[in-house]
Subunit: 233 residues, 2 copies
């Protein structure tokens, strides 16, 4: 049996909520100078460097490709299937991008995950054409990145069933019941009955009503809620 | 910045409960023929081969080094710090074991985790000297394997707080309240009040009393319980 000497990369699945839909952040498969190469979209990622650990690589990538800093990400899964380079355009692109002098036989990638709200103040780097794309409307991505996004969403679904407080990263600090309901619908991929949602809200120990309401809205101003961490023991 | 071309391994953290304590499965750092090499213990693990994915590598390792088959394991974390080969005896051992013709600069390992009960029928492979060692009594292991075990235990602690049904892998199909309490104490690293435990048990929707009691015991026969999966939505 031959030992394989693969390259190792990190890839970042950033899931963002824009108030209506769950989105994922993608960048173009550009060349080193930031010009379009294959034209394909991919997750923000990179091979790891000599002097960095996995977490540092993930933070470097995010900063370099999207301009985002201090985004709390956590490892979600390693992908190392034998057919990750099935589409030769991806290995050719990577060899060219990194000036590698030998053929890539395998890449194992460590995927990171983050849930955040899409803030209008967020400025995405033009060079790599970072874009938010609705999760339900993703084109064919490079490598196995469609599978990675899909496993990330499944994983978030499972994790938030056990720990719904994870969802609060997707929302602003103060949020309305409607905003929380739409986030839950988007993540769970189901629709939630509007009428019963206020009752359901009352059973969530981690959601606390505030003495504040929306201002300057045309419809009836909705009450704001905030998230409270709950000790489970 | 230089791209690193590391080797990739899998390591298996098998946590087993013997009725009294939480144990972890370790093997000797032997040579290829199964003879003692460095004398150190390590987690069951291996570099990955050309034609196998990560999950298959983990299953191969476990079978080869411990004789265990069909153990349900899941990925728990990738470890890829720059100082994983800080102790040169580990890289020398690995180069020798695999007849590598160049120096190892880096290994990224994908750690797998499993919770199981230690069954008397389990026969461990003699060649690699597989042993169960109490988690609270682990010697200095090779590589960063002490850190990996310690993060695995922390991770199980966090996961079982959210989803206590994970604990049932550690118990026989029918178990007594005392057995469940001892498992919980071991995993949480705290002691649980015996008197209130029966009350606490009644609040666990995933634990169901059976119409069966222990037989042939000297003390008062305890009732058996079984685990029931609960729909959380």
């Amino acid at each position: 049996m031959r030992i394989v000497n693969p390259y190792v990369s990190v890839d970042c699945v950033l899931l963002g909520f824009d108030g209506e839909r769950l989105n994922v952040l993608v960048v173009r498969q550009t060349n080193r100078e930031g010009n379009v190469d294959t034209g394909c979209y991919k997750l923000p990622g990179s091979l790891i460097y000599m002097d960095e650990g996995l977490d540092e690589a993930a933070q470097r990538v995010l900063k370099q490709l999207t301009g985002l800093v201090q985004v709390k990400m956590f490892q979600f899964k390693a992908f190392g299937g034998v057919d990750r380079l099935a589409d030769s355009k991806d290995s050719v692109w990577l060899e060219r991008f990194h000036n590698l002098d030998h053929h890539l036989e395998r890449i194992v990638t460590i995927a990171y995950l983050s849930l955040l709200r899409i803030d209008r103040k967020m400025t995405l780097d033009d060079g790599f054409e970072a874009h938010w794309i609705p999760v339900n409307d993703i084109p064919r991505l490079a490598f196995d990145h469609n599978d990675i996004v899909s496993e990330a969403v499944t994983s978030v679904r499972r994790m938030t069933t056990l720990d719904p407080t994870m969802l609060f990263g997707l929302l602003p600090r103060k949020f309305t019941a409607a905003q929380l309901r739409v986030v839950m619908e988007n993540v769970a991929g189901i629709s939630i009955d509007i009428k019963n949602f206020h009752k359901k809200l009352a059973t969530m120990p981690y959601v606390v009503p505030l003495d504040e309401k929306e201002e300057g809205v045309k419809h009836r101003a909705a009450r704001y809620f905030k998230f409270k961490s709950v000790n489970r023991r």
